[in-house]
Structure formats: structure tokens, C-alpha cells
């Protein structure tokens, strides 16, 4: 299918020229199209931040909620209607900062959603404060002497918590990013795609060049089924691996575990109230 079916007409994209988010938007549209998905089948869920504006720049259902809470919204959307393809997108502050607790717990649930994090290692929308992934020493208007807190390590935390799909991509590489997103969408259960995204306005450290110099793609030998190896890889900080770092296809998803969709795939809004059962229930109060 043609990615342009996801184009929204007459819009004024609010990102800075050169922002990595443009590439991620393209990669996402491409991935959806190549998987044969259409705008009415997809819900893009986001919070607040530059990356989180994404659903306003493409055509599909969208739920643009609060800063940090997109994973909770998305979990409920998917649990209320598992027929929808739910993609959650947001920035590093959104997902790992304000939303840190939901991040951990969405992993625990293994909700069947795809979580794309545009990780520019800075708060873009609020003009350049440190994010949880900003490197030590990173100077900003608030972190005047540089970041002192150990950066958040999303991949190792995700693997430690048994996330069932953990990948990293780089916005500078549209093709490969699209392929990784495709695999994440195809994965059943929670999938994390942390995307290194240059912010040309506020992050002068982690630039396109920096990412090029400090990343490498995992080769085919990499055994993405090995959790121990994967976590050790995720702990590495000299050079950052790109690709699918860990994958576990054996776990049931949250929606499956709920039980109510095992024999009936209809979304909640299509189901009727069961008066007979209700009368039985009332009788139990006698």
C-alpha cells in the first residue's frame, strides 16, 4: 500500500526543519502501509512533547492525551478493542520521565501495542531542559552545571522487566527504522522501539554525526532470543547497538490474558448487556 494514504492534507508541521521526527513519521507511515494497514485500523496514541505531536501530522485515528500517560490510554484502548492496531509514540521525557511508572507496568502487562520512543535526550517542546536520557554533564538552562543524575537506560530496564520485544533504531536511517518498526508492529505483545532522534534545536551533543559515530547495527549472528546476552548488550555504553536486541514470542498478551476475547473478538462497544445473568447475580443478594 502507498504510505501516502496516511498523509493528512493542509497541515503545518510544527517541527523544526531537520528534526529527526520527520524521518520517524515517514518510517512509521511506510511501515504501516507496507503491512497493509489503513488509517481506520490504526490508532496513534501519544502524550505531550514534540514527538507526541505526531498524530496531528498524519491520518489515522488518534488519541493525543496528557504528558506521560499515553501508555495507560493505549492499554485501555487496546483492551477495549483488540481489533485496533495501537501505536504509542512519544518523547523520552514523556515515556521515561513523567510516564516512567506506566512504562514499567505496561511491560509487565505485555499489552499488544507498539511503543515508539523518539529519544532525543532532551525536552524539546519545553525548550531544552535535560530529559531522563540526557548524558551526564549535559548543560541546559536548568541543569546549569550539567546533568548529575545517571541517565535512564530504557533498554536494560525493559529487558530486566521481561519486555517481550526490545529494539533500538536511529532516525537518520529511514529504511532500517521502517523495517524495525514493521517487526515491532508484527510482534504480539508489548514492543519497544527506542529511536535515537537528533534534536537540531536543543541537543548540540547528540547530533546526527554523534549518533552515526556511536552506534552500530547488530549483525545477523545476534541471538535476539537470549535474554542474558541481550541485557549485557543493553548495559554497554561505549557504542550503542541498533536493531532488535531482544524478542520473546512465547508470552501471552494482556488482552489474551483478560480471557474475554478468547472466544469472542468483538470489541466492548459491540457487546450487549446480559440481563439474564444479571438477574442471577441479583438473586445472589437475597
Amino acid at each position: 500500500m502507498d504510505p501516502s494514504i496516511f498523509d493528512l492534507q493542509n497541515i503545518d508541521i510544527q517541527w523544526c526543519p531537520g528534526c529527526g521526527d520527520f524521518k520517524i513519521l515517514d518510517a512509521l507511515k511506510g511501515a504501516l502501509a507496507e503491512l497493509g494497514l489503513t488509517p481506520e485500523k490504526v490508532v496513534i496514541v501519544s502524550g505531550i512533547g514534540q514527538a507526541a505531536k505526531m498524530p496531528h501530522f498524519m491520518k489515522s485515528h488518534f488519541f493525543n492525551g496528557l504528558h506521560g500517560r499515553a501508555l495507560s490510554n493505549a492499554t485501555a484502548i487496546k483492551a477495549s478493542n483488540p481489533l485496533l492496531q495501537v501505536i504509542v509514540i512519544g518523547g523520552d521525557g514523556d515515556m521515561y520521565g513523567e510516564g516512567g511508572n506506566h512504562f514499567i507496568n505496561t511491560i509487565r502487562r505485555n499489552t499488544d501495542i507498539t511503543n515508539i520512543v523518539c529519544n532525543n535526550m532532551v525536552y524539546g517542546l519545553t525548550k531544552g531542559q535535560a530529559s531522563p536520557t540526557s548524558p551526564l554533564g549535559f548543560r541546559t538552562s536548568v541543569q546549569v552545571d550539567g546533568v548529575i543524575n545517571e541517565p535512564f537506560n530504557p533498554l536494560s530496564i525493559a529487558i530486566a522487566q521481561k519486555a517481550s520485544f526490545v529494539a533500538r533504531a536511529f532516525a537518520g536511517d529511514l529504511e532500517k527504522t521502517r523495517e524495525i518498526i514493521k517487526k515491532a508492529i508484527l510482534h504480539k505483545g508489548y514492543s519497544l522501539v527506542d529511536i535515537f532522534q537528533p534534536c537540531v534545536s536543543f541537543n548540540k551533543v547528540n547530533t546526527y554525526k554523534w549518533f552515526m559515530d556511536n552506534t552500530y547495527y547488530l549483525d545477523d549472528d545476534h541471538d535476539s532470543g537470549n535474554r542474558e546476552k541481550a541485557i549485557l548488550l543493553a548495559l554497554k555504553e561505549d557504542k550503542y547497538p541498533l536493531g532488535i536486541i531482544y524478542e520473546d514470542n512465547t508470552r501471552d498478551s494482556f488482552e489474551e490474558n483478560l480471557g474475554i476475547y478468547r472466544e469472542d473478538e468483538r470489541p466492548l462497544y459491540q457487546r450487549d448487556f446480559d440481563m439474564d445473568k444479571f438477574k442471577e447475580l441479583l438473586d445472589m443478594q437475597k
Binding site: 481506520e40 489515522s60 511508572n101 507496568n105
Partner: protein
């Protein structure tokens, strides 16, 4: 403390007290269910400490020939399972209270109590039945014996009730009960306690539920199929009830990591077409404040059960209060319509919650069910529920290709679709947005959208739940109360000598019914009775009508007003 009423032979008030872990709650359920099946009207209300073992908790049980739904101070019989009877119980003991207990267990405490002490070797008897843990069931047996419940009926019930615990347990319980039963019969014939209870076969078929069950059943009957909540006293019961019946009623029930996730899940679920609710108490609700605002701008239906307890902060975790009214009214930043319902009775708990889901979907708004610990943990028999009155209105449309989620409309309501229903795109946005839901920084659009959302309030006002009125049409004094205090106020209202006093009890807190304005303008003295320290409802009334209450009757001790409390306060004011 003086009782305003003498013991009544046809309305027997028993208090059972003992440590957490001594099975007070089990006995409460047991006694009330058996008595109801025997045709007696029953009422029970628990008060308990925030601990799992030890301390001293109590339950007040009324067994009556007439309907009873209020908590009273009067104790006709006190069954004390252990020592350390707390002041709130001691203060309620009068000279005519019969105190049943084990002298050995209670020790010197016995002498410090007024009332008539009746010694029962509870512990010995319990041990004979299988262990000290059975002392609660001995106590239950005493009540059955006193009330002359046919013992066969009791046995039948025990066999079913304890079935899952195994034969041994059933037997021990039966033995314990029978030992108590004999004592009860003996007490009855001794004339120490004389009861004149008239069973009513109609009662047998009635329903017995506490506030928590009423709200839960109301939710299911309202088509609720999504609940995300975090345990918090006194609101956890609703989560547990819905979880238990989740599979039967296609409910997604999830205990989440924190209350912020709860409300955000509910909003997500509402967007996707579920009928979503959360159940929490003040602290959890406070955390939901931002999420409530999200639902407000997104116009997503959400039902919030807010079971109040005394604050601020952790306050008194297992106690009651009505002090979160203002929080419910104003929580969330920015301006958006909302509905607040406060059940007065168990029936209300059911019907208002049922209705809440229709209102939420109809007006695409947030409905708060404002209850409290007293309400949630109290129960009495009510007539069968007319299931023919249960309607579930969905108000969901199919989205055509040009669908606009926030299309302008006269009454502010835009037809609501959900993603996947039809070919149109369904958007939802936390920013100020255009008709499609896309973020737009347009000052005129902003004004239009604010107006559209607030316009819904006018529609909502048309469906306000009417207050309950009791008293002469040509009154001078008007007593206003709201929510869970209703049974106590009404029980009192019937006794007050003041002929020119009327009672107006609100079940919808926001928006307020016009009735209140009409009645207020006719009153020369306005008395507002509520369970908080600052008179929050009276302030709301003044804000809306300009009328200031002449008297406030406030209670913020952590316990509910008893009927006697209400009587005493009002009697003084109306004197």
C-alpha cells in the same frame, strides 16, 4: 450521652465488638442474612480500625419488625468478644444496655461499664466447639436464640455458608452456634431482654446489599465493562466485585500501578467505546485530577466512584466523612461540565450508578458518584429491584468518511463515534482543538469550543435528580442534607415535634436542582447538616443561591451521624 429513645421491643439494636481478626465481619454477614431469611428487617453497619489483627472493631446490627436503614447510638445488647472496648462504644452504653461477655476475657473492664452485665463463658464454649476462634459464632447463636429464629433454618444456612471451608469447619460452627442459641433462648425467657419481633414473610424475598455492592451492581446494570482501579479503602470493594464478575459480563477489570493510570485508562477506554469507571477514595481521586481534566476536554464519558474517608492525606483510612465534596466539584484544571451524584440510600446506590453510565455517555461527560465509608460498609434489606427499569443507552454513532468528533452543535453535544466503527477518523486531543480534534491555536475557535463544552451544562441541568422532600408544604425551617446521612435524618425527621420543619435531601450535588432554590426561598431558617468541618455543601448553596445557612450541623469525628446525633442537634436548634 443520653438516648432519646428507650429500647423498642420491635427494633432490637445489637452491637458486636471484638478485635480485628475475630470475625466480626463474618458474624455480621451471617446474622444479617439469617435474620433476613427469617423474615426480619435488618440493618448493619461496621466501624473498624485500620489494622488486620487486634484493636477493637464493632458492628451495629438492627433486627426489626419495620424497615430500618439508619445507624443508632442505642445499644440494646452489646456482645463483647474481647476487652479494650473503645470509647465510642462505651459512651453508647446506657443503663438498659445488656452487656454479654466473658468475664474472664474482659477482666476488670466489666466493672467500669454501666448497663447490665450478663456473663457467658464465650471462650470456654468456643473452645468446646473447636477453638477460641468460634467465639464470634457463639455470639451469633445467642442472637438467633434470642430472636427465636427456627434453628433448622439457621443450620440449613450454615451448611451452605461454610460449605467451601470443609465439613469439619461446618460442624464446629454449628456446635458453636447451638451453644449460643441455648443461651439466647435462656436470656429471652429470663425476661432480661424482651423482644416483640414480628417476622414478615415478604422480607425473605428482599435483597440485602451494602453500599459497595449497590454501586457495583448498579455499574454492571449500567453497562460498565471497564474498570481500572488501585486498592484504597473504602472503595476497593467495587473493584473486587467487578473483578469477580468480569468474565460473566465482559468486563475488563484491572488493578493498575497507580490512580493516574486508572483515570487515564478509563479515558482511553471511553474513547474506544467502553463504559469505563474507576473506584477510589480522596487521595486517589486527588491524583486523578489531571486525568479528569483530560476527560473534560476530550469529552470522554467516565464514571468515577469516590468513596470518601476523612482527610487530609491518609487521614483516617477506615472511617467516614463527607469532606471531598469541594474536591469533587472543582478537581481538574480548566473549566468543563461534570455531574456529581450522592446516593442517599442503598437503592440510590444502585440506581444512581446505573444512571451515571447513561448520563456519562449521553453528555460525554464525567460523572462522579460520591459515597463514603459509612455508606459503602452499611447494609439493609431492600425490595426487589425492578429490572424492567434498566436501560442502557449507548449514544454511539457510526463515523462516516467526513466524521468530525467535535462538530459544533446547539446543545454542545457532538455525535460520538469510536475508532473502528465506520469509515471515519475518530480523534481525541488534550489541547484545544478543531472539530476534527486536531490541535489549533486559534483564539476564536478556542472561545467557540469552550462555549460548546459548557453549553452541555444546560442539557445536563434538564435531567437533574430531584431531591427528597419530607415535611409540610408550609414550613418555616428547612433542614438540608445530602448523601449518606439520609436514613438518619429521616428516622429523626419522623420523631421531631417541630411541625413547621421540612427536610430536603440532595442526591445530586452538581448541577443543583432548581427545587433547592424554590424551597430555600420559602424557608425562614435554614439548617444544613453534613459530615465535614467547614460546611462545604452549605457554601455551595450560598454560591448558587446567595442564601446563607442559619445553622450548620457538622460532624467530622470520623464516625457517621447517628439518628440520635441528628435528633439532638436539630432538637436544640429547632427548640
Amino acid at each position: 450521652m443520653v438516648n432519646y429513645r428507650e429500647p423498642e421491643a420491635c427494633d432490637f439494636s445489637v452491637v458486636l465488638c471484638g478485635a480485628a481478626g475475630q470475625g466480626i465481619k463474618t458474624v455480621e454477614t451471617l446474622v444479617v442474612k439469617v435474620m433476613k431469611r427469617a423474615g426480619y428487617n435488618v440493618f448493619a453497619s461496621r466501624e473498624y480500625m485500620s489494622r488486620v489483627r487486634g484493636g477493637n472493631n464493632s458492628t451495629e446490627i438492627r433486627i426489626s419488625s419495620v424497615r430500618v436503614s439508619a445507624v443508632v447510638d442505642r445499644i440494646d445488647m452489646l456482645l463483647a468478644l474481647n476487652g479494650g472496648i473503645r470509647k465510642n462504644i462505651r459512651d453508647r452504653i446506657s443503663d438498659s444496655t445488656v452487656i454479654v461477655g466473658d468475664k474472664e476475657e474482659l477482666g476488670g473492664e466489666v466493672d467500669s461499664l454501666s448497663g447490665q452485665f450478663y456473663n457467658v463463658d464465650l471462650i470456654r464454649l468456643a473452645k468446646e466447639a473447636g477453638g477460641a476462634v468460634y467465639s464470634n459464632v457463639v455470639a451469633a447463636g445467642i442472637m438467633f436464640g434470642l430472636c427465636k429464629v427456627p434453628i433448622q433454618e439457621v443450620k440449613k444456612f450454615f451448611n451452605v455458608f461454610f460449605l467451601s471451608k470443609g465439613e469439619g469447619v461446618v460442624k464446629n460452627n454449628l456446635v458453636a452456634m447451638e451453644k449460643g442459641f441455648l443461651i439466647g433462648e435462656r436470656m429471652g425467657s429470663s425476661g432480661l431482654i424482651s423482644l416483640d419481633l414480628e417476622p414478615d414473610p415478604g422480607v425473605k424475598e428482599e435483597l440485602l446489599m451494602d453500599g459497595s455492592e449497590a454501586v457495583s451492581l448498579g455499574a454492571i446494570a449500567g453497562g460498565c465493562n471497564f474498570i481500572a482501579s488501585y486498592p484504597m479503602s473504602p472503595a476497593t470493594g467495587v473493584l473486587a466485585f467487578l473483578s469477580k464478575h468480569a468474565k460473566s459480563f465482559s468486563i475488563v477489570a484491572e488493578q493498575i500501578e497507580d490512580e493516574i493510570a486508572a483515570i487515564n485508562m478509563a479515558v482511553g477506554a471511553g474513547y474506544a467505546g467502553a463504559r469505563a469507571m474507576v473506584s477510589t477514595s480522596g487521595g486517589g481521586f486527588a491524583l486523578m485530577s489531571e486525568g479528569l481534566s483530560l476527560a473534560g476536554i476530550m469529552e470522554t464519558p467516565v464514571v468515577i466512584h469516590l468513596g470518601q474517608r476523612p482527610g487530609p492525606a491518609t487521614g483516617m483510612a477506615t472511617r467516614t466523612e463527607q469532606a471531598d465534596l469541594e474536591l469533587a466539584l472543582y478537581s481538574g484544571h480548566g473549566e468543563f461540565p461534570r455531574i456529581i451524584l450522592a446516593p442517599a440510600t442503598i437503592e440510590d446506590g444502585f440506581w444512581l450508578t446505573q444512571r451515571a453510565f447513561n448520563l456519562a455517555d449521553k453528555f460525554q461527560t464525567q460523572v462522579i458518584i460520591l459515597t463514603d465509608q459509612y455508606f459503602l460498609n452499611s447494609f439493609y434489606n431492600i425490595p426487589a429491584i425492578d429490572t424492567g427499569m434498566i436501560f442502557i443507552d449507548r449514544y454511539i454513532v457510526e463515523a462516516d468518511k467526513d466524521y468530525r468528533r467535535y462538530i459544533m452543535s446547539d446543545n454542545g453535544i457532538s455525535p460520538r463515534s469510536v475508532p473502528g466503527h465506520g469509515m471515519g477518523i475518530v480523534g481525541a486531543d488534550s489541547h484545544e482543538h478543531d472539530e476534527w480534534g486536531h490541535v489549533q491555536e486559534d483564539f476564536e475557535l478556542r472561545v467557540r469550543m469552550v462555549d460548546k463544552r459548557l453549553r452541555k451544562m444546560r442539557e445536563i441541568e434538564k435531567e437533574t435528580v430531584e431531591p427528597l422532600f419530607f415535611g409540610p408544604p408550609d414550613f418555616n425551617n428547612l433542614v438540608i442534607s445530602w448523601g449518606s446521612t439520609y436514613p438518619m435524618v429521616m428516622e429523626t425527621a419522623k420523631l421531631l415535634r417541630s411541625a413547621d420543619t421540612a427536610f430536603l435531601h440532595l442526591r445530586q450535588i452538581w448541577p443543583l436542582s432548581e427545587e433547592i432554590r424554590n424551597n430555600l426561598s420559602r424557608a425562614s431558617k435554614v439548617i444544613v447538616l453534613e459530615g465535614n468541618a467547614t460546611g462545604q455543601f452549605s457554601k455551595l448553596i450560598r454560591r448558587e443561591t446567595g442564601i446563607e445557612a442559619n445553622h450548620l450541623v457538622l460532624n467530622y469525628s470520623g464516625l457517621q451521624f447517628s439518628s440520635e446525633d441528628v435528633y439532638r442537634y436539630l432538637d436544640k436548634i429547632l427548640d
